[in-house]
């Protein structure tokens, strides 16, 4: 379980949040909401340390990252933490030079050292799960927004993370694509994945949240 204890973050002299506690309970979906500029994306990115916090501690036992670690040590801990989390970005961020299948297998093969055949078999199953089983050979440039986001979800799940972080996963999508991506997220929730999602869509947030965090 990821635990944030007394976490604070500021940009210059603007305090985004201070003394914040948050638990991402296994099997539950946490939704972070708030008006734009409230720091909800920053909070999510802090969970996998794409942003560093200024005070407090981020913990995914036995990894413990207090604020102010020396750079080298922080890089080691943050990398270890990221290997146990997955993330989906608003803008997908698929790797344009790799086909769909290679996008999904890259992390298992390079980070976890999984053999290509094994990684590909699992990637196909994941792509099947998000409804992209037919697209293994296509390149990202040939995908619609909804398709790309579903591939991005499969990619984030390929390393079997303990938590899946979703940063406004549907804000860049048209309604039809949004529906297809939401369906996948709902399916994951049903299957008992631990999710943390940032959204500015109250309806979507309410419908998915087991636990709702509102940032002021």
């Amino acid at each position: 379980m990821i635990e944030l204890r007394g976490v604070g973050k500021r940009f210059g002299d603007r305090v985004l949040f201070e003394g914040l506690d948050l638990d991402l309970v296994p099997g539950k979906t946490t939704v972070i909401m708030g008006r734009s500029g409230s720091g909800k994306s920053t909070l999510l990115r802090l969970i996998n340390q794409l942003e560093r916090h200024d005070t407090g501690t981020v913990r995914l036992s036995p990894i413990e990252i207090p604020a102010g670690l020396p750079h080298g040590e922080w890089v080691r801990q943050a990398t270890a933490l990221r290997r146990r989390t997955g993330m989906v970005f608003q803008g997908f961020q698929l790797f344009p030079h790799l086909c769909v299948l290679d996008n999904v297998t890259l992390a298992p093969r390079t980070v976890q050292g999984v053999a290509r055949a094994v990684a590909e078999q699992k990637a196909r199953a994941l792509l099947e799960l998000v409804g992209m089983g037919e697209a293994v050979d296509r390149f990202p440039a040939r995908l619609s927004g909804g398709e790309a986001q579903r591939v991005a979800i499969a990619r984030a799940l390929a390393t079997e993370p303990e938590v899946l972080l979703l940063d406004e996963p549907t804000s860049a999508l048209d309604p039809a694509s949004t529906a297809s991506v939401v369906a996948v997220i709902q399916d994951l929730k049903q299957r008992g994945f631990t999710l943390a999602m940032v959204t500015h869509d109250p309806e979507l947030g309410q419908s998915l949240a087991d636990h709702l965090v509102e940032l002021k």
């Binding site: 990221r82 993330m87 030079h97 992390a107 390149f139 984030a156």
Partner: protein, 492 residues
């Protein structure tokens, strides 16, 4: 008084006896072409007083000729290997620089009577033993000044690997450096340069006999006759001997300069025909071989430049701070200095240090790749910076380390972006590779120069050479464009 008058009359008569074509009288100046690079004892800079202008026995001779002909002699600097062409182009009026009247030169320009008789001297490096002449050097490398009589003599020994230099100094330098076993040179040159290279050992007796003559354009028999007359006077009144003794060049053979058989030796060249015969088949094979060498050097150099350039760019963007500064310094240093200087430093400069003595092709490849790596580093730095930050975040979020995200995510995309500018650089390097000729590598351009100098066929050979370059660079550009289009189709 009477005596003075007589003297003046005599002097006037002497001038009148030496007619100079009117066009030169009108111009008031005769421009003589020569090469001061490594030109001792002909024309060279006095290293003790480099600011005093050139000295040498030909400078003295030109001075005397000018005095006798009543005209200013103005020196024009031109590379020795191209003196004949510079003369033909009209950039000088005569060429006097230890030019031997070889068959191929005689077919292109007109020569005066000889002003010096010389022989060949073979010198070997300090560690070479048991050599008594050229016959003992089979299978060895021997250095020689390009387009010289010595060059021609060496080519008659096919067992010897001839290494061609732009100057006798660099030819001797490489004997000392151990890159060649020895060097063949005109005796006056060997003598004049001996103080610079005391380690060299002269072997065997001087051999062969050849002549230095002044060259004028083929159509200018009148100028040739004027110079012949002047040389005759200078020999007759002892001026030549005085000059040659001053430079320690007087050998008994010089006494024969006055003999008709020698004075008239090249007089029969009255009709100068077109260029000499050339075996086109052989010439094409030689150009083809030069082209292969150019291609080989370019490809290897560029592959190395790409690898090194990528490392420099990555270090500059992602390395620890002190290394970043080194990368910046590397790029600025190699971009900001001429590749010619880098090449000479690598080959002749490093060659003076034991253990850093690179052979010519290796030094050439190293020089080209070090230089182009600086340019490639800038191309890749731009391309790497152009990859969105979010791509690195996505890789980080998957747990890839910095090195892994560079290797699998960022660099492949950056290489795609740099394909077009990189192709451009490769084509530039491909043509720049001709610079390795200054360190004795005979590639396509040098081969062209040698064949054209020998035959005078600058246009046809030039077109063939250009064709060969295009035949190699055009397909390359085409392949790069096709590759780029294929990547675009998939990824863009």
């Amino acid at each position: 008084m009477l005596r003075l008058l007589a003297c003046l009359l005599f002097a006037a008569a002497a001038i009148a006896q030496l007619p100079l074509p009117q066009r030169y009288r009108d111009a008031g100046v005769l421009r003589w072409g020569s090469d001061a690079e490594g030109g001792a004892p002909f024309v060279f800079l006095d290293s003790a007083h480099p600011d005093r202008g050139e000295i040498g026995f030909e400078v003295d001779l030109a001075h005397e000729l000018g005095r006798l002909l009543g005209i200013e002699m103005r020196r024009v600097q031109a590379p020795f290997g191209n003196l004949v062409q510079v003369l033909q182009r009209g950039d000088c009026d005569l060429a006097m620089n230890g030019l031997e009247p070889t068959q191929s030169r005689r077919s292109q320009v007109r020569f005066t009577r000889p002003y010096y008789i010389f022989q060949q001297q073979l010198s070997v490096g300090p560690g070479i033993t048991g050599v008594r002449g050229l016959d003992d050097l089979d299978g060895k490398r021997v250095g020689v000044l390009g387009e010289s009589q010595s060059h021609k003599l060496l080519l008659e020994h096919p067992g010897i690997e001839t290494v061609v230099y732009e100057s006798n100094v660099t030819a001797y330098e490489d004997v000392i450096n151990g890159r060649t076993a020895g060097s063949l040179a005109d005796l006056p040159i060997a003598r004049a340069l001996r103080p610079m290279f005391p380690q060299l050992v002269d072997v065997g007796e001087p051999f062969g006999e050849d002549y230095y003559c002044i060259a004028v354009r083929a159509g200018e028999a009148d100028l040739q006759q004027a110079l012949d007359a002047a040389l005759g006077v200078l020999f007759g009144n002892g001026t030549l001997e005085r000059i040659y003794r001053k430079w320690d060049l007087w050998v008994p053979a010089e006494a024969r300069l006055g003999e008709d058989s020698i004075a008239q030796r090249f007089a029969n060249d009255a009709v100068v025909g077109g260029a000499g015969d050339m075996d086109w088949g052989e010439a094409l094979v030689m150009l083809g071989r030069g082209a292969l060498r150019t291609m080989g050097i370019s490809v290897v150099s560029f592959v190395l430049a790409v690898l090194l350039g990528l490392v420099v760019a990555l270090v500059r963007l992602h390395g620890p701070r002190p290394l970043r500064w080194c990368a910046v310094a590397y790029v600025e240093l190699l971009r900001g200095t001429p590749i010619l200087v880098q090449m000479l430093l690598l080959y002749y400069g490093l060659g003076q240090i034991e253990g850093l003595r690179l052979d010519a092709v290796t030094a050439g490849i190293l020089g080209l790749s070090l230089n182009y790596a600086a340019y490639e580093a800038e191309v890749y730095r731009g391309a790497l910076s152009a990859i969105p930050r979010a791509q690195r975040e996505a890789a980080s979020a998957l747990g890839l380390t910095t090195a892994q995200s560079l290797r699998f995510v960022i660099v492949p995309q950056a290489l795609r972006l740099s394909l077009a500018p990189s192709t451009n650089d490769f084509i530039a390097l491909f043509k720049d590779s001709s610079i390795v000729m200054v360190i004795t590598v005979v590639e396509l351009t040098k081969q062209y120069q040698m064949l054209a100098n020998a035959s005078g066929r600058f246009i046809v050979l030039g077109l063939v050479t250009s064709g060969l370059y295009l035949a190699m660079s055009l397909p390359l550009a085409y392949l790069a464009r096709r590759f780029e289009r294929r990547l675009d189709r998939d990824h863009a």
